[in-house]
């Protein structure tokens, strides 16, 4: 991802503590380019909402600066920041109709009446809710309320829109549908979006870049492909997508490839990504679809004995749970090619991977 010269939003060394004892956000540095769709992804309690609230102006940063369009906004009250916001519970005003809800941000800006009407109509067109202009929010379904909340955050043409788990309350099918709609609206309007979620597939589908949060720290900031293919630490590897983890000690490193003695005794090779040197402990991470069943002639250096525990037929591939290096939760996805169908429960075989497909990351005790 190209790092913009003049970021639109920028967090500079931001810290936040609610109680003066623990830091909920620790030294956050984050630049967001204009027009970008950035997602904050992380487990519950990792500080995502807190960051969003600081940006919106409802919480003050304990330390550091937040800049919007080049100037610090620490002392600007929320209503002057001009940031659209979609709340998790939508926060549609229950005593106003859909039309009045949408007109609210325009009316407080003293926009002329005719223009208000026109803008409300066009934003309702955008979310395809024109027929509902006179309903009260309580008379709408969850998905419809969500659209109105989205429309309300966009109707006054803000340059930046914040969304805090806006799809959290919807069922799976509707959520996926809305993901595409939000994505399209973002593309059509060109607004900058900061999106919070703890659903990784949602983050992967929608974002330009994803900031993975844990424990108040950005663990990795990258585009979806990089995040999936090249996780930089074991938390990200574990959090994004499925992966197999093994622990061991680094025996030697040469040309970026590390040789590792697994705790089970076997010796394997992996790409040295995040290790502190020979003799240090490391967690290996390999994706299930990057493991292969080996034959005698296979050229890979990493060879591990495996015993099949469980097979799940999924059509395009077979999900194979086996016991590898003392871990019986090792997952492998075997493509459904005609030659591979001889897999059987209880069978012993050998598996391995290309050196670049296994990443040696920081050590983390397996749970």
């Amino acid at each position: 991802m190209v790092q913009a010269k003049d970021p639109f939003v920028s967090f500079k060394g931001v810290q936040k503590s609610y109680d003066g004892e623990t830091l909920v956000v620790k030294n956050l540095n984050l630049d967001i380019a204009s027009g970008e769709f950035l997602t904050m992804l992380g487990p519950s309690g990792s500080g995502k909402t807190t960051c969003l609230m600081m940006l919106a102006g409802f919480e003050t940063a304990t330390h550091g600066d937040i800049e919007l369009g080049g100037s610090p906004i620490n002392n600007i009250p929320p209503h002057k920041r001009g940031i659209g916001m979609v709340f998790q519970n939508y926060a549609l005003f229950p005593h106003m109709t859909v039309g009045e809800n949408l007109a609210f941000p325009l009316n407080v800006r003293k926009v002329p009446k005719a223009e208000v009407e026109e803008k409300v109509r066009s934003v309702l067109d955008m979310v395809q809710m024109n027929a509902f202009i006179d309903r009260k929010p309580a008379q709408l379904s969850g998905g419809q309320q969500q659209r109105i909340a989205l429309a309300r955050a966009l109707v006054f043409s803000p340059e930046l829109v914040l969304m805090d788990e806006p799809l959290g309350a919807l069922d799976k099918q509707l959520r996926e549908h809305m993901q595409y709609e939000i994505k399209h609206i973002h593309e059509n309007l060109g607004v900058t979006v900061v999106y919070v979620t703890h659903d990784q597939s949602e983050a992967l589908t929608m974002s330009n870049r994803i900031a993975v949060f844990d424990d108040g720290v950005i663990q990795q900031l990258a585009d979806p492909v990089t995040l999936y293919e090249k996780p930089e630490n074991s938390f990200v590897a574990q959090f994004i997508g499925e992966n197999n983890q093994m622990v061991g000690t680094v025996k030697s490193v040469s040309k970026g490839i590390a040789t590792i003695n697994l705790d089970s005794g076997a010796e394997v090779k992996a790409l040295a990504v995040n290790i502190s040197g020979v003799g240090s402990r490391t967690t290996l991470s390999v994706r299930p679809e990057r493991c292969v069943v080996l034959t005698k002639k296979s050229a890979t250096v990493s060879r591990l004995d495996a015993k099949i525990e469980e097979l799940i037929y999924l059509g395009d591939h077979i999900r194979c749970r086996m016991n590898v290096a003392g871990d019986d939760q090792f997952i492998m996805k075997v493509p459904n090619t005609s030659g591979q169908l001889g897999l059987e429960i209880g069978a012993s075989l050998q598996i391995g991977w290309q050196n670049n497909d296994c990443r040696a990351l920081d050590f983390k005790e397996l749970v």
Partner: protein
């Protein structure tokens, strides 16, 4: 929905062959009987202690047979008299006969009191004439008028004719500062005797003032209660509820100690030099005292419904309003306040209705001009013993409350009301 099978085979039947509808009704009936039997004791209690007394009292407001019971002859004659021409000898004969009997039975006081209610200043006329009734000779018209020439006044007779009618609108007329007369129907009461309408009006104004003050004082407190962190809001809640745990009488007398002219506030004012020692404020035994004490006592009834409504308003609404560009004030007025309307309505109605019938506090701290209509009702119940008038006043009060309730339902809707 038309099911082809239903059309062919008639009504759907349950497993044992009885029609499904009947079966369902049976099942529901049993559970309904059970439900009703649970509330029967309460219903009986409410009926005996509330509904029946109210109707009995309301009935007294339009029905009073005291005069006709004790003066059977006279009442009979009065009903024949048209009330316009001079009273004739027959009437006087009946009068003397009834007076004699009343004196013997010692019921003359009741008759005199009843007529006196209708035509004040006639009490002694009856008692003194009754004393002499034994010695009176025919023609009675002359001899009776000789004992007291007031008997020649046709108004006395007309008042008696009115009182002889058991079913009468005259108490309601009195309660509305009017009079029901034989010749002119309803007329206005003399200027100097008009007190009730003024008192109703004052009661209404004081109740409205108390309601407004409660809202003004209670709204911020309820807001704090709903938004403060739990620990501090609990403490505040205890302070709000504290008055409920103290006797009403104690609280009212505490106000006397605070507000009287030698009381805490006046002493403070004098000490601070705000007022001179000889011109202390009169804060009690007047309307001011009533308003202050009633506002204090009724405040929790405003705070609690407000609080229960505010508690359910998530802070995200205010945040949403601010993020959409509203200043804090505007967000509060346009987004927060409208959502508290059910609480304002409930609290306002509750306080107003309680205030309109308030009795002890105005009686203790109200002095002359701080009395409410309920004090007048109590006066007629206990002192003047004019229960019918008390009932009429109460009936008007009740009608007023119902009217308010109806207006509220029209404007805000009763089902919008949240009491807790």
């Amino acid at each position: 929905m038309v099911d082809s099978q239903t059309v062919l085979s008639g009504p759907i039947t349950a497993a044992d062959g009885t029609p499904l509808k009947k079966k369902l009704a049976q099942a529901l009936f049993r559970s309904r009987v059970r439900a009703v039997s649970l509330v029967v004791p309460l219903l009986a209690f409410v009926l005996a202690s509330f509904v029946i007394p109210i109707f009995a009292l309301m009935w007294q407001g339009v029905y009073n047979d005291r005069f006709s019971t004790y003066t059977p002859n006279l009442s009979d004659q009065l009903s024949k008299w048209d009330g316009l021409g001079e009273p004739d000898e027959d009437l006087f004969v009946a009068l003397v006969a009834d007076l004699k009997k009343a004196r013997k039975d010692r019921t003359i006081g009741r008759i005199a009191t009843r007529v006196n209610q209708e035509y004040p200043g006639t009490r002694s006329l009856f008692t003194s004439t009754a004393r002499k009734a034994k010695k009176l000779k025919a023609p009675f018209k002359e001899s009776v008028i000789k004992t007291n020439k007031k008997w020649a006044n046709i108004e006395v007779w007309r008042a008696m004719k009115i009182t002889s009618q058991d079913l009468t609108p005259s108490f309601y007329a009195t309660a509305l500062d009017g009079r029901y007369t034989v010749d002119k129907g309803f007329v206005k009461q003399n200027e100097n005797r008009q007190i009730y309408v003024k008192l109703f009006w004052r009661t209404f104004m004081i109740s409205a003032t108390v309601m407004a003050l409660c809202l003004l004082l209670g709204y911020p407190v309820a807001y704090l209660l709903a938004t403060l962190p739990l620990r501090s809001s609990n403490l505040l809640m205890i302070m709000v509820l504290l008055p409920f745990w103290t006797s009403l009488l104690v609280r009212t007398t505490a106000w006397i100690a605070i507000l009287q002219s030698q009381g805490v506030i006046n002493d403070l004012m004098v000490a601070m030099g705000i007022t001179a020692d000889d011109s202390r404020f009169s804060l009690i035994y007047n309307m001011t005292g009533t308003i202050i004490a009633m506002t204090h006592i009724l405040l929790p009834f405003m705070i609690l419904p407000l609080y229960s409504v505010m508690k359910t308003i998530p802070p995200s609404y205010m945040r949403a309003a601010r993020s959409l560009g509203a200043t804090p004030t505007m967000a509060f007025i346009k987004v927060y306040v409208p959502q508290t309307i059910p609480g304002v309505g409930a609290g306002g109605l509750l306080v107003f209705i309680l205030a309109i019938g308030y009795y002890i506090t105005p009686a203790l701290v109200g002095g002359q001009d701080g009395q409410l209509i309920s004090n007048m009702i109590a006066y007629h119940m206990q002192k003047s013993l004019n229960w019918s008038l008390a009932a009429a006043l109460g009936g008007i009060l009740l009608a007023g409350v119902l009217l308010l309730y109806w207006i509220y339902d029209r404007v805000i809707g009763i089902d919008n009301m949240k009491l807790g």
